[in-house]
Amino acid sequence: MTLLKHRLFWPVAALVTLVVVNVIANPNFAKVTMRDGDLYGNPVTILRESAPLMLVALGMTLVIATRGIDLSVGAVMAVSGAVSLTIIADSPDPGSLGTVTVAIVVAVLVALVLGAWNGFLVSVLGIQPIIATLVLMLAGRGVALLITGGAITTVTSAPYKFLSNGYLILLPVAFFIWVAVVAIVALVERRTALGMLTESVGINPEASRLAGVRSRGIILSAYMVSGLLAGVAGIINASNTMAADSNNAGYLIELYAILAVVLGGTSLMGGKFSIAGTVIGVLTVTTLDKTIQFFGVPPAQSPVFFAVVVVIVVLVQSPRVHAWGRAASARMRRTPSGGEPPTGPGAASAAKKREEVAA
């Protein structure tokens, strides 16, 4: 029972179910093979391809915790990819480690500045987050096109390619990158007081202000982290294709990130957030994406398939649906026996009360 009540129970259950369905449909889904000392197979691909969405969703989690939303992450990814690849393409020595380092640092800094701009609009000027970040969502891709001169910049650079396609010990580099970032963010949020203060600002901004919380800085920092992580995501994304495609890099990723955050149990109302939940949410979304490919759903129908599964997952996690389920099973138990209901008229109410206590 205590396991059932854990806030991550339903997100994990959804992910496990998805994997199990895949494995039953085709045992090859979970097959992992060793080649040249590296691991390959669907599970490894999922871990590797999760990287951009993982980074973006992580930043989105913090922004959502402050009652905000960041719609610009996809555009920031495009900008960061464009900046880094343009620097590499313009350099005399695209394959050198120095060039790639400069390209990455500059791209990440640009992304950080874009995040700070969002944060400035929201926390200092008090513009509604959805509008404030919409500005960059619409303008960002234009900026990226400006940087690449309207073309899709492609480069050949081994160190840059390594970020997305390389392997470290057994597993892809991209996987290690997101694990490291998750660990850093979790440590910063939970080992300092940033997490609690962020939740406090998200739950009750006015009470937090009167308690002396510097909410402006906290909100600003959330958007900066979101911008920064979107920048890193943009680099990994560009490294995957070795091309800066300003129109398609990170396209609609903001919506998938929001989906992943919600699947992980963080409320869009702000406040309490769960980093572990977001990790599970992202893995669920990526696994679902792979499922679609694996089942060979035609591209034209894949959005429908995706939507249907998402609706099911969301319903399975809904506390209200749980309460209905419990009430229904209590009725079922009551009717055939014909005797006194075991818990009195309280079966549904007990569920309701638990819900309230949990809330």
């Binding site: 080992r191 300092t192 007081a193 940033l194 609690m196 203060l197 939740e199 406090s200 739950i203 009750n204 006015e206 009470a207 937090s208 202000r209 009167l210 308690a211 002396g212 919380v213 510097r214 906290i218 406040g271 309490k272 009195g344 008229p345 309280g346 549904a348 109410s349 007990a350 309701k352 009360k353 638990r354 206590v357």
Partner: protein
């Protein structure tokens, strides 16, 4: 109007039992509500009043017992069921749509329809008729938010009448009303009683309970203590029934006013001509070490506005503030906090508690905010703060890991007091710290304030309950119509004198200066 005990009850609740995880909130409680009576439900916080009301309004399903409304057994599984049975509730915090017009709110869901959908003229005509039947003359097209809380409550009552309520539940309706507004509300309640509506009234103001009620039911710790006719239950007997022990605690504090304060030195806080256009006329205020300064005045007199300016919650546009003799800029709460000033807002829910965070997190929030996010309080430091104040203030339940939102109002207030005390301020501003909480918690908080002041803490204390202000302060600042009209020594004035001063002194002084 006398109540005939033989009248058949409209609502009969028998043996109501509701259990929450780990707590028996109600234990076999009987409650009867008769048509044409005002019935007060009394008890401390946590006695089970709210739970009983929620059982009657279908918010909670009952674990045992029966509810009959108009001789028919009911099994409420939702608030809609209760409403269909003719039970309407008006809560402490008005739950209407502030951004809709008065008329739309009154008629919401019952709009008259014409050929082309809703007939808006008829909506407003009907709304005006319902309002007029309660003696209200309002512009039904004005937005609800443009009216005072008192008017909004009366609108909520009108709405209940549109729903043809036979039972009207008023949960702390008067906690933010001034005297005139209370009179207006009571006139409405009396006219509803004449029409045979059964009214369940909950209030922490004993005077109001005695003024309006025909009958009183007392609960304590989830159990029924008894049902009494008002005339059979003297005040002392009621308080004893509610808390189960003789309450000498409040009167034990009465020595506080006589404590002498050394006002020779530098004041802890000194405000000169502090004001803000349209909010408060420039006012002076000094607070000395170990002094409890009471701010008295009616609601809307500028009490809250004054302390918010002192704390930097709102920015003053006139005057200057010094803390311990040093000029201080108060442009944000943080500036005040950095100088050792703490402020507990009157609006506990909106400006005090962070509902989904735990009791412990709420307690340490102020200290943590002051240290900044980088320097997190260690687990040991947190536990020390939490343990100290859970114990010192008697927070119930004694589990600091539960979300504060699940606590009763009085216990939430104790946690907030702990938040401010943990910051070890030299000046504590308390705006209505005892509003809407029970006698026991009120005594706990007053005792703590008196004790801290005796130890040297300076306190600015605002309360609508003038007796309370007189009892625990050493100096009184009186405001009226957003203007400071004078200061009084609480040892030289009694309740009547203070009321008289608030009501009249402003006028005489004003005409004298002219």
């Amino acid at each position: 109007m006398t109540v005939d005990t033989d009248v058949r009850p409209l609502v009969s609740m028998r043996g109501i039992t509701i259990a929450f995880p780990g707590v028996l909130a109600l234990d076999g409680v009987d409650f009867f509500l008769r048509p044409g009576e005002v019935h007060s439900l009394m008890g401390e916080n946590g006695a089970g009043k709210s739970t009983l009301i929620k059982a009657l309004t279908g918010v909670y399903a009952i674990d045992a017992g029966t509810i009959e409304v108009a001789d028919e057994q009911r099994d409420f599984s939702s608030t809609a069921d209760a409403q269909a049975a003719g039970i309407s509730t008006v809560y402490q915090e008005v739950n209407l749509c502030a951004n809709l017009s008065v008329g739309e709110n009154v008629m919401l869901g019952h709009e008259p329809r014409g050929l082309l959908g809703i007939d808006w003229n008829a909506v407003h005509r009907d709304a005006a008729r319902h309002l007029a039947s309660l003696g209200l003359d309002l512009d039904t097209r004005s937005p609800l938010a443009s009216h005072s809380i008192a008017i909004q409550q009366l609108v909520a009552i009108s709405r209940a009448m549109v729903l043809d309520a036979k039972v009207l539940i008023l949960d702390e309706p008067t906690s933010s009303l001034d005297r005139g507004e209370v009179d207006q509300l009571f006139a409405v309640i009396r006219s509803l009683r004449e029409r045979g509506v059964a009214i369940l009234f909950v209030s922490h103001f004993l005077e109001q309970v005695y003024e309006i009620s025909d009958r009183i039911t007392v609960l304590r710790n989830g159990a029924l203590i008894g049902e009494y006719l008002v005339e059979d239950l003297p005040r002392e007997a009621l308080v004893t029934a509610m808390i189960g022990r003789e309450l000498d605690e409040l009167s034990a504090l009465s020595g506080a006013a006589e404590r002498t304060i050394d006002r020779a030195g530098t004041p802890v806080l000194s405000a000169e001509g502090v004001g803000r256009k349209g909010v408060l006329e420039p006012a002076d205020l000094d607070v000395f070490e170990g002094e409890v300064v009471g701010i008295a005045g009616l609601l809307g007199s500028g009490r809250t506005e004054l302390v918010r300016l002192l704390y930097g919650a709102d920015k003053a546009d006139a005057g200057q503030i010094s803390v311990a003799g040093e000029r201080a800029k108060m442009h944000a709460p943080r500036h005040a906090i950095d100088r050792g000033i703490a402020f507990s807002s009157e609006n506990r829910r909106a400006e005090g508690v962070v509902a989904e965070l735990s009791v412990a997190e709420n307690m340490i929030l102020g200290v943590q905010a002051q240290r900044g996010w980088m320097r997190r309080l260690s687990k040991t430091e947190q536990d020390a703060i939490v343990a100290e104040y859970m114990e010192a203030l008697g927070v119930r339940p004694a589990d600091p890991t539960v979300p504060i939102g699940t606590l009763s109002g009085g216990n939430q207030q104790k946690v907030l007091l702990a938040r401010w005390l943990a910051m070890q301020p030299r000046l504590l501003i308390l705006d209505e710290p005892t509003r809407g909480i029970d006698v026991g918690a009120k005594a706990d908080i007053q005792r703590k304030v008196a004790q801290l002041a005796a130890e040297g803490l300076s306190v600015v204390f605002i309360s609508s309950e003038l007796e309370e202000v007189l009892r625990i302060t050493q100096r009184l600042v009186v405001l009226r119509d957003r203007r400071k009209i004078g200061e009084l020594d609480p040892t030289e004035v009694d309740l009547d004198g203070l009321v008289d001063y608030i009501a009249n002194a402003g006028h005489t002084e004003r005409s004298a200066t002219r």
